[in-house]
Structure formats: C-alpha cells, structure tokens
C-alpha cells in the first residue's frame, strides 16, 4: 500500500469550507461525515471490512474536493420530475434517510469522506403517484465524489439507469435511494471506469411500507472496485430484489458488501450476485442479512455465484446472518468454481467447439440476471459491455 501525503488539514479545510456555506441540514451532515472519516482508521489489510482486499500498489490517497458533474436525461413526457444539481436541493437533507451520515456496516471510511466532500451532485425526485415507464438516465461526467439522491414519492413508479464511465483515478461515491410508501423503483448502475481507477461506491436504500425496489449493480471497471450495497426495509411489506454482475479481467479486484436489513414485519429480500472472473482477477463478497426482532414473517434469500474462467482467478464469499426474529425464512447459498465440465460436455456434444460452448455458458450466466432485472433496454446496454469480455472466454 502507498499512502502519499495524506494532507488531513487540507481535506478538513475543504470539508469545513463546504459546511460553512451550506444550509444547516447539509452542513450538519457534512460535519458528521467528516468526524466519522477522521475517527476511522486508514484501512490496512487487517482492518475489518478490508481483509479480503489486496491493497498492494493501490493508492488510496483521497483527492481534494471538486464538483462532481452528472447529466440527467429524462424520458419524454416526464417533465414533472424534479431533478438537477443536488446542492440546489438542500431541503432533501431534512429527510430522516439523509439526516445522518452513513458509513455502512463495514465502517467505510471513504464513504464518510465522500459525504463530507461532495460538491454538485445529482438529484431526482419523482413526485407521488407518477409513473414513468422509460428509464431516467444519470451519467457521471467528472469528479471524485459523485453524490446522488433519488426520491420516489408515495405510489410513484420509475426506472433509473446510472452510469459511471469517467476517467477519475479515484472515485468515492454515495447514492441514496428513498422509496416512500408503495413506491416502485428499478435502479441499475453500470460501473465502467478505467482499469487504473480506484472506485468506491456506497449505495443505500430506505424503503417505506410496501415499497418495492429492484437493483442491478453491474461492474466491469476499476483496478480496485468496492461497492457497499445496502437496503433497509423499514416499512411493513417492503420488498427488495438485489442483483449484481461482475466481469473481472487482468488483476482487477472487486470487493462487494451487501446488506439486506429487515426492520419491519412481512418484508422480503432476494439477492443474486454473480461474478465471472478471468485472468488473475479477484472478487470478494460479504453478504449480511439482518432480521430484527420485530420483523416477523420476513423472507430473505441470498445467493452468490462465482465462475472462475482461469486458473489464476479467485473468489471469496462469506454470508453473515443476524436473525433475531423467530418466525422468518432465511436461506443463502454460494458457489465458487470453473465452468461445469458436464455442462461444457453437454453443449459441445451439440456441435459447439469448446471456446464457443464456454461462451454460451458464461453468456447464460449473465443473461439470467439481466432477464431478472426485466428492463430490456438497460439489459441491451449492459450486454454490450459484456460482449467484448465474452469474446475472450475459452481462448485460454
């Protein structure tokens, strides 16, 4: 690990300056985030939440604060959606979901910093009762601390597709998804940053009564890409389907932490995260399910599937369950291994050469998740990101 001149004073001065000029609620959130950042130790390979990450040759030095710029494209006929620069909508920080700084279960130091140092940012508020069929697109153009807040009003329905492709060498982003009562959201994020980047994305969702969230985290970019994906089912009957897809090459590292937080009765979560890993890439998955004492009749499912496409690829997977209610259903499963030999033989026996057969199987591995997300136009865009990688499968 290399720590080059972490100028604590400069970062603190940045955060202070931003807090001073911000309205009270935003200022409080920034100051709390800064305090969290300073209280947490700089991660090493023995820190909680970082043990599976190889930090050799990774520069974790946070850059100074700069504005993060995103383009928000609304589908036609969706003019009533409130959207723009997050800094222009400080009122959203008075909501309980945003009033406090969240560093996630694993005490994510860099997420705390992102919440102290963000500028600009993106904001989307779909008003109560409104239904938007086509995806709202959010595309990050530049900036080290992308900050996005999405509010789906009561009974509203929307699809959001967020893309990260800009070439910043260090990115620490935070996304808040707030679903009011009965709201429905399909949210997909594509992380396609350059192979030299260090990318931290912390995504946190709060769901009200009978809200339904379907997320797809899709990652192919970064040298070290860490994602903390947290869903808090706060209202009775809230439901969340959490999907994840990773394609790793070279020496890419993906570190994924998920939380299925059941805080109310009759809540349901279903998680499927898959990684296909080539060359010497590595994926580490930690999946936490928490079912509170009061969250009776809840149903949680978690599956993590890792496909190793070369002998040098590696995957670690660890489920962590904290179940305090007694009348619940909670199941989990994980697999790590190469393409199944029987599958390969079966496909080859129909005339497909071994490399083509492997590609068909790996393609299916991804396709299953893309189809579950059930948004064909987004699936199409994501498929285009997988295809160049797929063409290498079976070549060695």
């Amino acid at each position: 690990m290399t720590i080059t001149s972490v100028d604590k004073t400069a970062l603190r001065a940045d955060a202070e300056r931003l807090a001073e000029r911000a309205p009270a609620a935003v200022a409080a959130a920034r100051r709390e985030a800064l305090a969290r950042y300073e209280a947490l130790p700089f991660p090493t390979e023995s820190s909680v939440g970082w043990r599976r990450t190889d930090l050799a040759g990774i520069d974790l030095t946070p850059p100074p604060s700069r504005p993060s710029v995103c383009r928000i494209l609304l589908p036609s006929g969706a003019d009533r959606i409130l959207c723009g620069v997050l800094e222009d909508h400080p009122e959203v920080f008075t909501r309980p979901a945003l009033a406090a700084a969240h560093t996630g279960l694993s005490l994510h130091k860099f997420s705390a910093l992102a919440q102290a140092l963000w500028q600009g940012g993106g904001f989307v508020h779909v008003p109560p009762g409104m239904t938007v069929a086509d995806p709202i697109q959010v595309e990050w153009e530049a900036g080290p601390y992308p900050r996005l807040v999405i509010v789906i009003g009561a009974g509203a329905e929307a699809t959001i597709f967020e893309r990260h492709a800009a070439a910043d060498p260090y990115v620490a982003g935070k996304v808040d998804l707030v679903l009011e009562e009965g709201a429905r959201l399909h949210y997909a994020v594509l992380q396609d940053r350059p192979r030299e980047s260090v990318v931290f994305l912390h995504q946190r969702a709060e769901l009200g009564r009978e809200a339904k969230l379907v997320t797809l985290n899709f990652a192919v970019g970064g040298k070290l890409a860490r994602a903390d994906v947290e869903v808090e089912l706060l209202g009775p009957g809230a439901e969340s389907d959490m999907l994840g897809l990773i394609f790793g090459e070279d020496r890419q590292q993906f570190d994924y932490h998920t939380l299925q937080g059941h805080r109310a009765p009759h809540t349901r979560s279903d998680l499927l995260f898959k990684a296909a890993l080539d060359d010497r890439s590595h994926a580490a998955y930690t999946g936490v399910i928490i079912i509170d004492r009061g969250a009776q009749r809840s149903d949680a499912y978690q599956a993590n599937r890792n496909l190793l496409l070369s002998e040098g690829a590696r995957a670690d997977t660890e489920p962590m369950l904290e179940i305090e209610a007694d009348d619940v259903r909670c199941t989990h499963g994980a697999t790590v291994g190469p393409v199944d030999e029987e599958q390969l033989f079966y496909v080859m026996s129909r005339g497909l050469a071994s490399d083509v057969a492997a590609r068909v199987i790996v393609d299916g591995f991804f396709e299953e998740v893309l189809e579950k997300f059930d948004r064909p136009s987004i699936a199409e865009a994501l498929r285009a990101k997988v295809d160049p990688h797929l063409s290498r499968v079976g070549a060695h």
């Binding site: 033989f345 026996s349 129909r350 005339g351 497909l352 083509v356 068909v360 299916g364």
Partner: protein
Amino acid sequence: MAERLLEIRDLHVAVGETEIIRGIDLTVDRGTVHALMGPNGSGKSTLSLALMGHPKYTVTQGDILYKGRSIKDLGPDERSLLGMFLGFQYPSAIPGVSVANFLRNALMARHKGGPPLTPAAFKKLLDDAIRRLKMDPAVLGRYVNDGFSGGEKKRLEILQALVLQPELEILDETDSGLDIDALRIIAEGINAQRGPERAIVLITHYQRILNYLRPDVVHVMVRGKIVKQGGPELAQELEAKGYDPLIKELVEA
C-alpha cells in the same frame, strides 16, 4: 449391403484407474435400430458417453470407427458435426440460455461456411418438432433443462435430435421415468426418425419402449461386455426371465 455407420472394435474404457468397458465389439449399419440392454452398472451409460467423447472416459484399448474413420481422438463437438448425437440420461441445465438460442447455436455450428438457415426456416423446424412431441411452444423461451421435470428433459433431448437430424442417434435411457402417455409420444418421435439414412442405438433397462420401437438387433451388456445378441425376441425373453439367468450362466461358464 447397408453402409456400416459405427464399428466398435475391442473397446476398453476406463474412468481413472477403473476399467468399466472391457472389450466390446459392435457394428451398427445405416437404417437399423439397435437396443442395448443390461442390468444397472453394466456399463451402458459409460459406453454411450465414451462414444460421444466425454473427457472423463478414456479409451485404453481398441478403437471406435465412424463411417470408417477412427474418432477416438476427436472432441465431442467434432463427433457431433460428423453426425453423431447422444440423448443424455441426465442432461445438464444451462441457466440463462434459452432452448431456441441453444438450438440456433447448434445449427449455426453445422452451417459453418454453408448457407445460413433463414429465421423462417428455423422457426418452422422448431415448430414442427414441438408439434410432433406435443410440447408447449413456451419451452423455446425457457432455459435449457433448467427447472424441467424428468419427462420434459427427455422430450427436449428428442426435440434436439429432430432439429439436428443426426445420422447416428444414441439414446441413453430416454424411456426411463416416463408415464405411459409420454413414453408413447417419445417413442413416436423416435420412430419418426427411422429411415434408411439413420441408425438408432437405444439404451434401455426395459422392454416397455421396445413394444413401440421394434429393434432389428438386441444386445445384452453385463459387466462391461456384450454377452448376448439376438433379435427382438431376446428383449421379450429378458422381460420374462430378468437378467439373472444370463448372469448365472456367465458365472458358471
């Protein structure tokens, strides 16, 4: 004389260090239907997988000739493209790959360099096969064998044979686990493929399916060897008496 399609000469097959097929000679001519019978563990499935080139099964002695050419060093894909087909006893599920997409890939592998199949011709080929096997057309959109019942899997194997039109069709216990209606439909599907251009080798425990599909030759396999050959009457004899008298005879000899 009919053309010799498959010729197995003194074949020995091992899995790891264990020899399972211990010297088999078998010839199959175009236009004929063979039944390969025998008790559990006699090596029938091993023979079928070895014929298709499963990497776990090693030919330690002897040879397999297909249309006069040794294929024992060819991969399963090459054997398929030469016209061989195996209907699996336990077909693999391929999640995320639809039946239609899978068959399109298999057909594309066959049309390499040749004229591609038009979407309309492809659809007709699939529709005809679906109708013949009385399957729900929705099967084309389902993932290959994923969540299929035992009967659905067996039908899908025959569907693939109908679409791929192999010359040598080896069917490994395609009749097991089927109710009587499904058995009849599948037997009709197999019967539809009988013809002077094709040979079928049916591996089975039971005489039951042979009531629908009269084989030309019946072979009985015990402990990795073919111990008896005969006409259709041999299958009926086995059904009446079981394999025990045969095994006993062998032990005494």
